[in-house]
Amino acid sequence: MFTLVVGGAASGKSEYAEGLVLASPHRPRYYIATMEPFDEEGKARVEKHRRMRADKEFETVECYTGLVSVRLPERGTVLLECIGNLAANELYSPQGAGSWSGALSAIVDGVDALLAQCDNLVVVSNEVFTGGTDYADGTEDYLRLVAGVNRALAQRADRVCEVVCGLPRYYKGAAG
């Protein structure tokens, strides 16, 4: 089962996605963390979230770029959060793919590789596309990338939902 969960900032998408994982019988639970901590505040935040997930029996796998090289020790359920971070890392980090097309395949091929290694995959992505059309070039590349990944993953997914106010609205497949 592959579920794509999309939502705006603070829409409740993470909690909803985590709920999907906790409800799944497929163990172990892996969390693929994509946010690179750059300072003490970031490190503390990452550590706090890691402890919270450990209580829920998640194993955290860090991956900032090159998702395709992640090897899971066992099958089970994977929560990948989030595409917005991965896209920024692939575009702007020195270790990233750099180009728009390179970043697109790095992420989509990476998700394909995860699909082959697990029984249940939940991917969280971002809805950032209704704030206008007039962006500077750098932002436009980023938006095109996230949108391209979203469309490619939506095509592959068994279920696609948008979370609004914590409530899922299914565009493909159904809840439960």
Binding site: L4, T130, G131, N150, Q155
Partner: protein, 107 residues
């Protein structure tokens, strides 16, 4: 008229091609898109909506989701774009929102 809306880069034109069974090149003769950009220049949105409603397919990008623009002109343009979409949806036989390439029927 079929009105197709949705966020930026959500696959609206690809869906229009699928709906009309036509190529991207052919689409320009059968559909009109980015109509949100016409709204700001229009003296009368109702007249513009009437004109657009004669087309087979009309496509607009949703632009009202971000922070209210500080610039007065941008604010007015965004307001007009949203209003135009409402008027087009009223005139359409069918309204579809495309999200991540997936269509959802609104009307």
């Amino acid at each position: 008229m079929i009105f197709i809306t949705g966020p930026l880069y959500s696959g609206k034109k690809a869906y229009a091609c699928q709906l009309l069974s036509c190529s991207r090149e052919e689409l320009s003769t059968r559909a009109v898109w980015d109509v949100q950009e016409l709204a700001a220049k229009s003296a009368d949105l109702n007249v513009l909506a009437d004109e657009l409603a004669r087309r087979e397919v009309v496509v607009a990008t949703e632009v009202g989701g971000g922070v209210v623009p500080v610039d007065r002109e941008q604010r007015a343009a965004r307001e007009a774009a949203g209003r135009l979409s409402v008027l087009l949806a009223q005139r359409a036989q069918r309204v579809v929102r495309v999200f991540c390439g997936l269509p959802m029927e609104l009307k």
